[in-house]
Symmetry: D2
Subunit: 401 residues, 4 copies
């Protein structure tokens, strides 16, 4: 079954879901099995430990929910907070917006800090809020590490530094959906209390796993948090962890085998090498954008994201036409602009199991599309700029030295 | 990666997750794709329509959540009810027990009707409760159609009849996790307001989809229900249905292609033929149990389940030993007894894409295991009884006439 | 794409192609790769060594041809013999018949020893022929180890003993297509000069690999054999072995990865355990046949095959009807009777990655079919006889002790 | 199992084996089945017919051998010719060389016409030979349509024209391994008597099928050809075609399902569109090569191949270093130079299921590699030249208009 078939491979450059390595497809291409057998417990322990390595945490407890990032958000919030609790959160793109919408609908008291789309979290405002919060009414800071809609990466260490400076006990909840496993993320070192990601991003899996790590302070908070929760309740998992059977309800064995395969790929390459690869691809993409004479949606280099680049089109172009032409002519899937930047921005995801030549192919495509729709680009210009960077920075593949 | 490998095929006879047909494995063995492309909308519409056929409803709206049955439960409850609302529910096995636990933790006022494990819902009690509920304080009747832990199928039409008799407006919420697609289920005809199932049962998929159909009355109730919800909120889906993009957050394309393949298999065989096959396999299993001189956990034939048979072992045997020996010696996965019937009962699932010879192989295995652990069974006795029934009742395969 | 679909799994009990383990399917579910890369050489060496372990040889050289068993035959003959060379060969079933037909068409001088179908090779005749062959005109003895059409296993050590007794230098060429990897086979110990098998039998792969091991004497003979050959020429392989690039033409990477996976499964289980499992399943099948009151095609127990059982039906039954009914009603694939035993015999393969309960399911099916077509069988009788044997002989699965 | 793993996808640009579409991988990711069932006959007929459409023949008979291109060659020769028969053949690259080697070893009398590597067949010589062959001693003209080692496409219609001009009855045998399904090929219109290809080229399958179409004159010749043959004998197939069971020995069901899927993809795209796509990609590649200031191995534009481009490196560079660096740094698989052009040429395959952006990614890679190894290329130059062509010539994807 194939709808709208096209010759050759689809070039998947949305910022998630991402390319699935063949090894991962092989791993999940299997029938069901009894999740109460000893075999399954062995697998379960292995991946629960593995994701902690990915989050760079030794102190947190990991949970793997059969859900999406949206569900992982809900799990992070409802396990640690009670209705009415005050949260400070930054609205600077579509995903932070959606998370805040969730917080509000779950009846938390959200102190929303609106920032320009394309900018990072305004830390001065946070600093001021923390400074004035004598009674520690702020229970949590919720931040999206990498705002996928605008290509903005926030500095989590800076937020931790502010909390420490003010000796503020608020929990730090971080959405790492489009960062963890691709951009530097150090849960323990950064003092993150809850961090979360989804399977279809850096891990290169199908959608379906919401992965949450909860540090000791978060687990403690969960004991008194009164938000109603069942499906997303950590307590149910903890009960089964003690029993050694791990799952309060049926997990997807296919997805867990796939997760094991994905983690193996990441640690074989080396997590730090994975991060360097994303940095290399991100910079190459930005160099191409500059060569085309276009601007990033991201306002300042410090916020540049290494997993997704949001490109602003000139006013006389509708960015949706870029995305449509990409799909219709070159079998290239790009991300559209969302909400405030709809029509103004298109996005190139460079996240997950992707390498230099895949990116250069996509950048060539973008060049041709820009020309197709009337933007005066010099074909080859962006690719040349990107290639100049990649040719210098790409190391030999370590297994092939 | 294979833990505890064994020669030959695993015989998967737990009552879910069930055997995945090769065609379904093929369908989900694929990479990711952009869920915002026109291709994906075409697929989405196709499966959202398809599951309505499976539920035998034309009036309901279908929702496919990236979750499990537990999540589907939560979706059914939180979209239609408000905290404090009175629910009547029957506790007669592990899954009805867990659903009731969920209801209580979600702050509903559950009027629990405890029934013997092995019995069906006590309709006299329901009748009495409805008769006395002059003010219509009962907002919902929640019932597990097929209680997987005891092999009990409840009569949904009888419950509908009682509601109608009393002209009672309570919503009828039905867990069809181990029934829909295998046992007769007629959502519209039976006046079910919300029905739900999970992907890993009759549909023979991996775990990961919670499928919910909500009738008009349920959708109306959703407009005023105040239970906090975001991930499981129908409203978010309805918004995207209108937009024609279907998904409020990233779905698993793999699972939706697999669902399409599974529905194709079911409708090619014919849903009514699927149901007849389950009836045939259920009866054959029960005949085998009788031939072994063992009793069903199910107390009366009217409650016999055609998707799972719970077998009571003699007091001198621990049913867990049956399950362990099955796995250790014959690579046969049986279901353990849960909670109240732990150690007393083992379960044979005959649910999903399974046929006569698969079942007879498993029944042979059970015979040998019974002998292995000291129960005086005559080898061949159960298989003979089952085969006598199957030989008579099994039609020629329609595609091969 | 599925022609003539049926509910549930196909029960594949033809004596090849056999059941493919899921792990093997996963291994070959992959794209193409450059067979001239270092990665491919590593894989190639690994499987070329692995098949030698399977054949129990340290002295032979292994060749893996992209062909079938028929091609492997051709390779064995043309590399070691010259047109006109005298071969002694036994015609006692369809596959020995076909091999002899090949020999004749390739212009060898075949001294055909016709034996009853169902009997093994007549060693007295061989003894006499060797005794009289003063001038060593006989260049080769060609024998099918396990005649798949009649369920007859010949004794290779006895043939070696005769050759040794007569100090006869004839090459010993053995077709191990339906034996190697399932029935005891000791290439070095038995002094076999060329042994061969196909991928779709004990190895549980798709068809497509013809695996040939040639001992030192055979390799020596290849230097002077004048049969025209190119595709099947060992010399081309040997040239590439020296270069370390292994393949004179493009091999199937998928099949070689699958072969690696299959060998891993076999050696994890233990080759001797694999052989014991086949012995157990073979005996169980024969006990079932006896319980049904039917006769084996195999004339004497010493010739009983542990990989396939040929069952003789009563004269008033056409065995083809058994096979048709199996496919049409129970999705069971049995082997038909071939050539001389067409209509008289049906065959149950119990070869490859198959276990006790798979076999018992199939035997139940055969019982029902016999009844379906009018043979007065007692349902359960054969299964009971088989199960009595299996329950006693089946060890706990070693990984699950 | 993965040897020498690398991040992201392998860029497979050897001229075969080629990229396997996901749909084809899905099609062959399946267990074995009984090749004697009615289901299998249906599939068999379907693909035997389908390949005739691919070869553009209505009069020929198709044969699908479980072998490689080398085996298909052997089948073409041995079925139509007798030892000692005179063949005229052109040696102008590695594959024509190997085929001629095969002819000689099979004892045909080959009149070898040596041409420069990089040139096409010298038709003047052929003209002369045909003119002088009064007694029609030449029994066959054997020609490689597309010489994969040098990127040379020969004109088959010109050869047919010469034969017709001289009213010469010689058979015309054409190796279409790297052309059929990618470059215009009209078996009937061009009067080709035997044409052949392999599965791992334009069809995008794994290696393992040798596909041969034999026209009426070839089939007639087969009746008297005395070359010894069994495995490759058409007669055995024809016998089974009549029986409707199609296969003289066990075929690979996986490969036949995959072939069906591949043919579906090709005919959905439209065979003529497939050919145009190859023309577009071939021209783009050649434009890139020119922009780099490098020369083609192909001596004249009329011989340019649209499936593979052989690029000559400057004398101070070893082309093997290009290929090694491609694999070691960019996970790009290029073809090495073979035999006479070893070290002097590297090859870019653009054959099969490959599209514009895949090619442009690979061309970017080649640019970077050239720079890596010291050739003064301007990064972006080749990509720009290729993109300029592709941007103009690439049509919208027909299913997505």
């Amino acid at each position: 079954m194939e709808y709208f078939p096209a010759p050759g491979r689809n070039h998947l450059f949305v910022p998630g879901p991402t390319n699935v390595p063949e090894k991962v497809i092989q791993a999940f291409s299997r029938g069901n099995e009894d999740h109460r057998s000893p075999a399954f417990a062995t697998l379960s322990k292995s991946v629960l430990d593995g994701v902690k390595d990915l989050f760079k945490t030794k102190t947190a407890t990991s949970f793997i929910f059969p859900t999406t990032g949206t569900g992982a958000w809900e799990s992070a919030l409802t396990n640690t907070l009670s209705p009415g609790d005050k949260i400070v959160s930054f609205r600077l793109g579509q995903f932070s917006l959606l998370w805040i919408d969730q917080m509000q609908r779950l009846k938390f008291n959200v102190d929303v800090v609106d920032c320009e789309w394309g900018a990072g979290a305004d830390l001065n405002i946070l600093n001021a809020k923390l400074a004035m919060d004598y009674n520690h009414e702020i229970k949590a800071i919720c931040i999206v590490h990498n705002e996928t809609s605008t290509g903005v990466t926030n500095s989590i260490p800076s937020i931790r530094a502010l909390l420490d400076k003010h000796k503020h006990p608020a929990l730090l909840l971080v959405d790492g959906v489009s960062s963890i496993g691709a951009i530097e993320f150090k849960m323990d070192e950064w003092g993150v209390d809850v961090a979360l990601t989804g399977s279809q991003k850096a891990l290169g899996l199908p959608t379906g796993l919401g992965i949450v790590c909860a540090g000791p302070k978060a687990l403690e908070a969960a004991k008194t948090a009164t938000s109603p929760r069942v499906f997303f309740d950590w307590a149910d998992y903890l009960k089964f962890y003690k029993l050694g059977s791990y799952w309060p309800y049926t997990p997807s064995s296919q997805m867990l085998y796939a997760l094991r395969a994905s983690l193996d790929l990441i640690f074989e390459e080396g997590l730090d090498n994975v991060i360097k690869r994303h940095a290399r691809l991100g910079e190459a993409t930005r160099l191409a954008v500059a060569a085309w004479g276009l601007k990033l949606c991201t306002k300042r280099p410090e916020w540049n994201s290494d997993t997704v680049t949001a490109v602003v089109v000139p006013p006389y172009i509708n960015s949706l036409d870029v995305v449509k032409m990409a799909w219709k002519k070159y079998n290239l899937s790009l991300g559209v602009g969302l909400n405030k930047v709809a029509g103004k921005v298109f996005r190139i995801g460079h996240l997950g199991f992707v390498n230099e030549l895949q990116l250069l192919g996509a950048l060539s495509g973008v060049e041709m599309i820009l020309k197709d729709i009337g933007y005066p680009v010099v074909l080859g210009s962006g690719v040349a700029a990107a290639a100049a960077h990649l040719q210098k920075k790409t190391p030999l593949i370590s297994s092939r030295l």
